[in-house]
Structure formats: structure tokens, C-alpha cells
């Protein structure tokens, strides 16, 4: 339950109150800027997921949402002060090494070199917290009841656990970010429903919902939390870029994260 949610509630209440509010699609002249490099990389502890780094560049706002890959980069990840793994480009802008499976407590150092530009980042894989179960619950949403999925897990006592959750409906990503630290939930059983923001995503009977829970370090939490607050284009968002842990002239995030997935069908 974050500020954005509260702001959304207030924002929706304003629209409900004004009754006559109306929406229309408009055209705007948007200043285009030179493309900026985007790094989206992760080392996971999952044998199936392995480690993957996507390197791309920003696109124009009025272009479509396809990713603009940055081809031909040299991508390596070093585990602590030990082995350096190289990640070959397996498809355009996607660099992957299925053999690099991360271990909790180890720090991973990313290095991306492209056209003379060097980008670096580091992340330490936290301890994995078990994702116990998923439950389907009713959720009141402005005069109507919707189905939501709630992951259950027990936050270990002691501060420093951070979570990032990702949800898929019938294999399609729900485009909402759910990032939590443990400042207010330390040592508790966590039961926050994952409330999706788009009406089009509404869960129906028979929908197959997958929830991925990543335990992440604090910088990754900060990235995903600020992402949910600022980069979504919604009217409540503060227009700014998420707090990146990539060093060099680039944006994005690199994380050594634990990976768990559970699935539930909406009854």
C-alpha cells in the first residue's frame, strides 16, 4: 500500500465527484532527444532462468513499444572477485549465459562495453524468503468487487529484506510494479494483495495467474519502488527517472535476485 495507491484513490475520487469528467486522446509535439542506453540485467539463482542482460536504447514517445536493441556489446559478469562469466548475444540486444546461476550472499559485478562506452553495476544476491502460497481474494474497487491474488510469505526478523513481485495473467505480463521493503513489515506474515491498475487486466474465472517473487537488494528495491512512483506516465506519478544502479551514461537496473514462481487459477 503505497503513496501512489493513495494518490490514485484521491485522483479517482476527484473524477467520480466531478461526474462530467471526460477523456480524449490528444496529439502533442514531444521533444525528441538522443537515445540513451538502457540496461536491464539480472543474475538469478534459478537453473531455468539463468542470467540475462538486455541492452537497448530509448525510443521516441510516439513510436511503438518494441524494444530498440543495442547490438554487439560485450557483456561480462564477475562473481565476487572470482570467475568472470561472459554473456554472449543470443538474440538482438539480449545477452545470456545459462551457466551463470547466482548464489545468495555473493556479489555480482556487471560490465557492459559498447562502442567505447563502459557501463558497470554491482548487486548482492540476498537470502531467499520462501513464497509460501497464493490466495485469490475479493477486493472492493469503486463500487465493484474484483478478484485479486495475494502472495503469502513470512518476512524474516531483522531489517534488510526487499521484495519485487511480478504478475502474469495467462502468460501476459501485468504492467504494474510491486516493490516492498521491510521497514514496516519486519518479521510479519505478509499478505498484501497485488492490486492491478488497469481495468483491461481484470481477472476472470479460469484465468491462470503466475506470480514471480524476487528477493532483491536495497538498490533494486529503490529502483522498482521509484519506478512505480515516477515512470508510469500516469497523472499521479512524479515525472522523473527511477533511481538507477547503473554507473556510466545509462539508465536501468542490474540485480542479483532470487527467483520463485507460483501459479493459481481464478476459481
Amino acid at each position: 500500500m503505497k503513496m501512489k495507491k493513495i494518490n490514485s484513490i484521491i485522483h479517482i475520487a476527484i473524477l467520480v465527484f466531478s461526474l462530467s469528467s471526460c477523456e480524449k486522446v490528444i496529439n502533442l509535439d514531444i521533444n525528441a532527444i538522443d537515445p540513451v542506453i538502457v540496461v536491464d540485467g539480472q543474475v538469478t539463482n534459478s537453473l531455468t532462468e539463468g542470467s540475462i542482460v538486455k541492452v537497448s536504447t530509448t525510443n521516441k514517445v510516439n513510436s511503438d513499444n518494441t524494444i530498440v536493441p543495442l547490438k554487439g556489446a560485450t557483456v561480462t559478469i564477475q562473481e565476487d572477485n572470482g570467475t568472470i562469466y561472459s554473456l554472449p548475444e543470443v538474440s538482438n540486444g539480449v545477452y545470456r549465459n545459462p551457466g551463470l546461476v547466482g548464489i545468495s550472499g555473493k556479489t555480482y559485478h556487471l560490465k557492459v562495453v559498447s562502442n567505447g562506452v563502459t557501463l558497470t553495476s554491482s548487486s548482492t544476491m540476498p537470502k531467499m524468503v520462501n513464497l509460501d502460497s497464493l490466495v485469490v481474494e475479493d477486493f472492493p474497487n469503486f463500487g465493484k468487487t474484483i478478484k485479486v491474488v495475494t502472495p503469502f510469505y513470512n518476512d524474516p526478523k531483522g531489517f534488510g529484506n526487499n521484495y519485487n513481485l511480478i504478475m502474469f495473467k495467462n502468460g501476459r505480463l501485468i504492467k504494474d510494479a510491486f516493490a516492498y521493503d521491510d521497514l514496516f513489515i519486519d518479521g510479519k506474515k505478509v499478505t498484501f494483495p497485488l492490486i492491478y491498475s488497469r481495468e483491461a487486466d481484470e481477472f476472470k474465472k479460469g484465468d491462470n495467474i503466475e506470480v514471480v517473487m524476487n528477493c532483491v537488494d536495497y538498490d533494486n528495491y529503490k529502483y522498482w519502488f521509484s519506478f512505480s512512483q515516477s515512470s508510469t506516465g500516469s497523472p499521479q506519478a512524479v515525472p522523473d527517472n527511477p533511481i538507477s544502479n547503473i554507473k556510466g551514461n545509462a539508465i536501468g537496473v542490474f540485480g542479483a535476485i532470487t527467483y520463485q514462481k507460483r501459479t493459481i487459477v481464478i476459481p
Binding site: S20, V25, N31, V148, V190, P239, N241
Partner: protein, 776 residues
């Protein structure tokens, strides 16, 4: 200590030299109070003009005036808004008390000439710059949304005052933010003057006498905010006859009862307002468990204790309640109480002592699955102050006093139910003292010069009781220090000079200049997208420094075309230090301390304001135009470079016209235009973890579309006898249905998520309303 020594010395010297001149002149005093004959209400700002001399005075907040003159025979004209002037001939040989009761200027007396607009804050005489005044009478004919009369919305039609948004009662004054406005109701701080997310102000116009807005040149008795003072005064209550008035409108019902407790001596007033949108909601099955209403209650008692003493007790209580089924419930509201004692030592020295209480709190309850979470925050003030007004002689009027406020803030309290995942978190209360002493002298050496020299010395003590923090550059807490209750954590002092000079070029034209320094110790932190009732108030601490501002203003004032028109122009430059904003990615509710979520910087604002006002005749009204700029430079935003403040609007035009068609019909209209607010649109987009993200590279470099709107209003007098008065008020908001942008957002197209669409949301088009007002 930020006292500038040379400035201090200069000020003391000036005050001293004025006092020197006072000695050795033989003066007598004419003093007394000015009331309305019909209601017994004291009149604020009535003018007392001594015809065969250079001198004059205005009545103070309690209707009291005092004017010192050398012995002679004088002709004195007493005049006030909507009243019939009274002229007296006085042979001044000793101190004289003259209590004046002015008759209501009815239409029968004045024909159909509207004389109300003659009264205005702006004045050719004196040295006060940057002031706007508005009485309820003046505002009542100007159309507003939903027909709900609202002084804060009418004030937005004046130059230099901008609406915080569509249909919003919040204001930006001269490029400042909303929390830089000090809004006081009978001297009590109103920390959130908005109902229903700002669509209405907390001021029920039936209970209000008048409002003065100081945009610059704040007199020394005011302090604590950078950008403006909105001094709102409640009616006292009719001490002649009991009267009942009220209205039925689209949004609310109002009822006002006032009358004498003991005729001529004491009176009471109770005024209430409640909205009833929720009554309609109940009719609909889908919305029947929703709550949506607000109410206000104003009450005042006053009592005259002999000739020298008066007591006033006033209170305000207002609350908003909003709830959607079990999903969430929120309520917020202000409560204030003011006890005032006017004491007249002698005909020259007037003292007001006030004890003031003010409280604002909000509560937000949200259900999140099995998590019932409650968020609570509160700010509470106790204030004691004394204000002396001393008429030294015919050239000098001194005002001095002191104020002490004790603030108690409960910054944030988060609690959950037994099944919630939340550990309860009660942030430590913050205690502080805000003290000030001030003095200001109005010196009138001759017919054409008027000099006000004043200063305010303010001090703020951050008091212990709880944990204080040290924070690194990234906003991480690096150190926690516990202070015992009663220990002083830190003290800040600011000397705030208030200087202004007026020079009469001739009887109808003048120029004025002013310099004002202000310090602000209480801060409301809003994010860049505007304010909402859950915005936190934070007091100055070891981390949050006081905000300060320096403002320079220059004005030209002229009465033209036989005093039928008034033209004024004012230019200002304001610089601000220690303004604050949220850090990127700040968590506004779930944090250890709000201080770790903040960034600090500075601001500057400058502009020029023009106003042409037609004060008499069947058609009255004004045209106002403001050309301005407001910028911020905050470490951590926009690569630490200057950027446009959200409230930066280059052009701002308002045209207001009121036409008295005949005795039955009064027509009115207003038109507003302003440059769209500064906003940040993305300059690129990218994909991360499958999500579409927008890229921003320059804060507030873009503009919302320009805003413009026309409103019409009409008042039909139904019946008017001595006892009864009834009228119907019609209005149409946004006559030509302009779709003004409320928000612009970027999102995936619903049908083709691979495309981005830009969506503009607008709120009100063609809002008609009718209300029925009565009085008996």
C-alpha cells in the same frame, strides 16, 4: 543567527527618529468605533477622512479608530463599503470620543448605483503595497462553480493570485506554493483551507465579513509564511435584531442565525453549512454505502464589558468525510478557537490580546485484503499574542506586539489490525515554539509622503522529546539522536524588516515601494503534482531549515476619469531560500521520518500586475493582467539547474463585469485566461522487465494547454421588504464548454498495447446551478 547588523541598526534608528519627532507637539485625539447601524457589526477598514487637513485613518480589525490632530475645527467624513457616508464637524479642544453608526446604503437611497466596488484594498494613499481586499458583498454577485459562493475563488480573479487548478479554491500567490500562504480565520491558522480536494474552501461565505490578501509588503504583525497572508474575519453577529438567513444550493444548504444577547452590548452568530451529494448517492444501489460530504460550523459570541473592554469568542469546526464502501474511508478537518480581548487604555492606545487554538488532522483507513491500515497525522497550535496600536501624534502611528505559538505535530501514525502485515509505527511527536516580537511605525511627515518602517524578529525553538536524525546525501539515516522532552534541539532566528514608502504625485496618483523579508517555520510538503489533504505539515528541525524570502515591490496607483476608474500596476521580485520538495522515489507514508524524503533548494519569482477597475455606475468590474515567472532550483532535481515551478504561468488575465439591469435583475460574467502550467512530458520511452517506462530529461520544460473559461451569473431579487428578502441566483460555469486539461497522461493503447496514447482528462463543462437565498 541571520540578523543583518546594519539593517537592524538602521531600523532601530528610524523608529527612534520617528518617536523623537512626536515629542513637543500638542495633539488631541478623536477616537471611537465605527459600526453598522442596522446590525451593530463593527466595520473593518472604514475610512475616516479629515477634509481640511492631510490626515486620515482607517478603522482597525475591531472597528476602532484613533486620529491625533492639533487643535482646530475639522470636518470629518466617515465612509465604508455599502454604507451611507456620515460627515461630522468637530471643534477639537480636548480628546473626543466619537462612536459612529453608519446606515446601510440601500438601493432606494442610492438609486441603482452600485457603490460597493468603491471599497478596495488597493489605495492611492498610504504606503501599503501588494494588498487585495474583498468583502462578501463584493464577491456575492460574481459567478462561481456550482453557485457556491467562495471568497478564495473570487480572489483568484485578482492579479497575482492564481487558482491551484480547475474549480480549485487553492491559490498560488506571486509564484509561491500553496503552503506559503498563511490563511487565518479570526487569527487562527487554518492548515488546510480546502474541502473536497480543493473544490471548495473552508470559508462559508455567510459567516465571513471580509478577507484581506497581502501579496507583498506584509505588515509586521503578520509572519510565518513566505508568499501571502489571507486574513479572514468572521462576522460578529447582529446586536440589534435577531435575523435568520440561509440558502439552498446545488451543493449545500446553509443556515445562519444571529442576534443580540443583550441589545447593543452582546451578540451571537451561528452559521452552518452541509453538502448533500451523499443523499443522492444513497439513492443509487451501487453507491449507497459510499460517503461523501463536508460540513462547516462557525460560531461567535461577543460581549462589551463597559466602554473600554470587549470580548470575542469565536470558533470554527469543519470536516470532510469520504468513503467508498469498505475500500477506504478518509476524513480530515480543522478546528479553531479564538478568544480575544480588546482593551482601550486611553483614546490613543488600543490593545488586543488573543488566545488561539488551532487543530488539523486527517485519518485515512484503507482495506487491503486482510490488512486494515490506518494512517493518522495531526498538527496542533496554541498561540498567545498581544497587539498594541498606539496613535502617537498626527504624524506617527505605532503598532507593536508579540506572539508565541506552541506547535505539536504528530507527523505520522500507521497502525494495522490484528491480521495485518504492518508493524504499528508511531513517529515521535514534534514540539516547537515559534515566537516573535514586532514593531512598525507609520510616519506621515507631510501631505505626500507616507513611510512605514517596521521589523519582526522571529525565533523558532525545535524542542526535544524523541528521536532526531542525521541524514546523508542519498536520504539514508546515518545517525539517531534522542533528545529529552524540554531540551532545545536547535534555535533559529530571523530579523524580518518590513519597509514601505508611499509618495503622492498629486491628489489622485501615487507611487509606492516596499521591501519585505519573511521567514517560514512550518512547511507543507506536496509532491510536484499538486496538493491533497494528506499532504504533511512538517516543522523546521535540525534538518529542515526555515524558508526565507526577500521581496521587493514597486507600484503605481491612479484614480482616473473623475474617480470612476482606478488603475494600478505593481511589479515584484521575490527570492526564496530553503524551499523543499520530495526526493525522487520518496515514500510519503511508510517512512522512518519525512525529513529523509526531502530535497532543498531555492526559488525566485518576478512579475508585473495590472488592474483597471470600474468602481461606479450600473456596470462595475475589472480587468486584471499578470505577466510573471516563477522558478526553482533544487539540489537533486533537474540536474540542479533552474526550472519552471509548477505554478509558473506566463500570462494570466481575468475580466469581471457586474451589471445592475434594474431593481430586480443583476447580471454578471467573468472570463479567465492563463498560460498552461509547467509540466514534464517524457522525451523518450524504453522497456525494462517487460514494462513500458517513460524517460524524462528536463523538469517542467513543457506546458499544459492554455486555460480559458467564461462564466455567467444572474441574481433575481424575488421579494424585498423590511423583514423579508429572497433571491434566486443562477450561474453557468464554462459557458462555451471548453475542455480544459486537468491532467495529461501517457499510457498503452487499450486495443493495441504496443502503441502509446496521450490522454487528456478534463473536468467541468457547462455546469449550471441555481440557488435560493433568504433572509428574515
Amino acid at each position: 543567527m541571520e540578523i543583518r547588523k546594519p539593517m537592524k541598526a538602521f531600523l532601530l534608528l528610524s523608529l527612534f527618529s520617528c518617536a523623537q519627532k512626536a515629542i513637543g507637539q500638542k495633539n488631541y485625539t478623536i477616537s471611537g468605533s465605527i459600526k453598522s447601524k442596522n446590525t451593530g457589526e463593527y466595520i473593518i477598514g472604514a475610512s475616516i477622512k479629515v477634509l481640511n487637513s492631510n490626515y486620515g485613518a482607517t478603522s482597525n480589525e475591531y472597528g476602532f479608530y484613533s486620529i491625533s490632530l492639533v487643535p482646530d475645527t475639522y470636518k470629518i467624513v466617515y465612509n465604508a463599503l455599502g454604507k451611507t457616508p456620515d460627515t461630522l464637524s468637530i471643534n477639537l479642544e480636548s480628546n473626543i470620543e466619537k462612536n459612529i453608526s453608519l446606515l446601510e446604503a440601500t438601493n432606494e437611497l442610492a438609486g441603482v448605483t452600485v457603490s460597493s466596488s468603491k471599497y478596495s484594498g488597493r489605495s492611492v494613499t498610504g504606503s501599503q503595497v501588494g494588498i487585495e481586499k474583498l468583502s462578501v458583498q463584493e464577491a456575492k454577485n460574481i459567478p462561481v462553480i456550482f453557485g457556491e459562493k467562495d471568497l478564495l475563488k473570487t480572489i483568484q480573479l485578482l492579479p497575482g493570485v492564481k487558482a491551484a487548478g480547475e474549480g480549485n479554491s487553492g491559490i498560488f500567490v506571486r509564484g509561491g506554493s500553496t503552503d506559503q500562504n498563511q490563511i487565518i480565520l479570526d487569527e487562527a491558522n487554518i492548515y488546510n483551507a480546502a474541502h473536497l480536494f480543493g473544490f471548495f474552501s473552508t470559508f462559508n461565505s455567510d459567516a465571513i465579513k471580509d478577507i484581506a490578501v497581502y501579496k507583498g509588503g506584509m505588515p509586521a504583525q503578520y509572519g510565518g509564511r513566505l508568499s501571502s497572508v489571507l486574513d479572514v474575519r468572521m462576522n460578529e453577529g447582529n446586536n440589534q435584531n435577531t435575523s435568520v438567513s440561509g440558502s439552498l444550493g446545488l451543493i449545500s444548504t446553509k443556515l445562519n442565525i444571529e442576534g443580540p444577547i443583550q441589545k447593543n452590548k452582546s451578540s451571537f452568530l451561528i452559521s452552518g453549512r452541509r453538502t448533500y451529494a451523499d443523499v443522492f448517492l444513497k439513492l443509487d444501489e451501487e453507491f449507497k454505502n459510499n460517503q461523501l460530504y463536508f460540513y462547516d460550523l462557525n460560531a461567535k459570541l461577543n460581549y462589551e464589558l463597559g466602554k473600554k473592554n470587549k470580548l470575542y469568542l469565536s470558533g470554527y469546526f469543519g470536516k470532510d468525510v469520504l468513503g467508498f464502501n469498505d475500500q477506504f474511508k478518509t476524513n480530515w478537518g480543522n478546528g479553531t478557537g479564538t478568544l480575544r480581548w480588546n482593551h482601550l487604555f486611553n483614546s490613543r492606545l488600543f490593545l488586543n490580546t488573543s488566545v488561539i487554538f488551532s487543530n488539523y488532522n486527517y485519518e485515512f483507513k484503507v482495506k487491503n485484503g486482510t490488512n486494515d491500515i490506518r494512517i493518522f497525522s495531526q498538527i496542533r497550535d496554541w498561540n498567545l499574542k498581544q497587539d498594541y496600536q498606539y496613535s502617537i501624534n498626527n504624524q506617527n502611528n505605532l503598532r507593536f506586539g508579540w506572539s508565541s505559538i506552541y506547535h505539536i505535530i504528530r507527523p505520522g501514525e500507521i497502525t494495522g489490525n490484528a491480521t495485518s502485515s504492518i508493524n504499528d509505527k508511531i513517529q515521535d511527536k514534534r514540539y516547537s515554539f515559534e515566537n516573535a516580537i514586532y514593531a512598525s511605525n507609520v510616519f506621515k511627515p507631510n501631505k505626500s509622503v507616507n513611510i512605514t518602517l517596521g521589523a519582526r524578529l522571529s525565533a523558532f525553538n525545535v524542542m526535544g522529546g524523541g528521536n532526531f536524525f542525521n541524514i546523508d546525501e542519498k536520504g539514508n539515516i546515518i545517525d539517531t539522536i534522542n533528545y529529552a522532552k524540554g531540551a532545545v534541539v536547535k534555535t533559529y532566528c530571523n530579523l524580518e524588516p518590513r519597509v514601505s514608502i508611499g509618495y503622492m504625485l498629486n491628489a489622485n496618483r501615487s507611487i509606492k515601494a516596499a521591501y519585505t523579508r519573511n521567514a517560514q517555520y512550518m512547511h507543507q510538503i506536496t509532491n510536484s503534482n499538486g496538493s491533497n489533504p494528506l499532504d504533511k505539515w512538517a516543522s523546521t528541525s535540525n534538518i529542515i531549515k526555515p524558508q526565507t524570502s526577500n521581496q521587493f515591490s514597486l507600484g503605481y496607483y491612479a484614480n482616473i476619469l473623475l474617480n470612476n476608474y482606478e488603475f494600478t500596476a505593481e511589479a515584484y521580485y521575490k527570492e526564496m531560500e530553503n524551499v523543499l520538495d520530495y526526493r525522487n522515489g520518496a515514500d510519503l507514508f511508510l517512512n522512518e521520518t519525512v525529513e529523509a524524503q526531502l530535497l532543498f533548494g531555492k526559488g525566485r519569482a518576478y512579475g508585473i500586475e495590472f488592474m483597471l477597475k470600474k468602481k461606479t455606475g450600473k456596470l462595475t468590474g475589472w480587468i486584471s493582467y499578470t505577466l510573471s515567472k516563477s522558478e526553482r532550483k533544487i539540489n537533486g532535481i533537474n540536474n540542479n539547474a533552474w526550472y519552471n515551478a509548477t505554478q509558473d504561468r506566463t500570462h494570466d488575465i481575468a475580466i469581471v463585469g457586474i451589471y445592475q439591469l434594474n431593481k430586480k435583475w443583476m447580471l454578471s460574467g467573468n472570463f479567465v485566461f492563463y498560460t498552461g502550467s509547467a509540466v514534464t512530458f517524457p522525451t523518450g520511452k524504453y522497456q525494462v522487465n517487460g514494462q513500458t517506462a517513460y524517460y524524462y530529461n528536463s523538469r517542467n520544460a513543457d506546458r499544459m494547454p492554455n486555460y480559458h473559461r467564461l462564466d455567467f451569473g444572474a441574481t433575481m431579487q424575488l421579494k424585498k421588504t423590511k423583514k423579508w428578502s429572497k433571491e434566486l441566483v443562477f450561474s453557468l460555469y464554462n459557458v462555451y464548454g471548453r475542455e480544459n486539461a486537468f491532467t495529461i497522461n501517457f499510457r498503452d493503447n487499450k486495443d493495441n498495447p504496443n502503441l502509446t496514447e496521450i490522454v487528456q482528462t478534463s473536468l467541468f463543462r457547462w455546469v449550471p446551478s441555481v440557488s435560493y437565498n433568504f433572509k428574515f
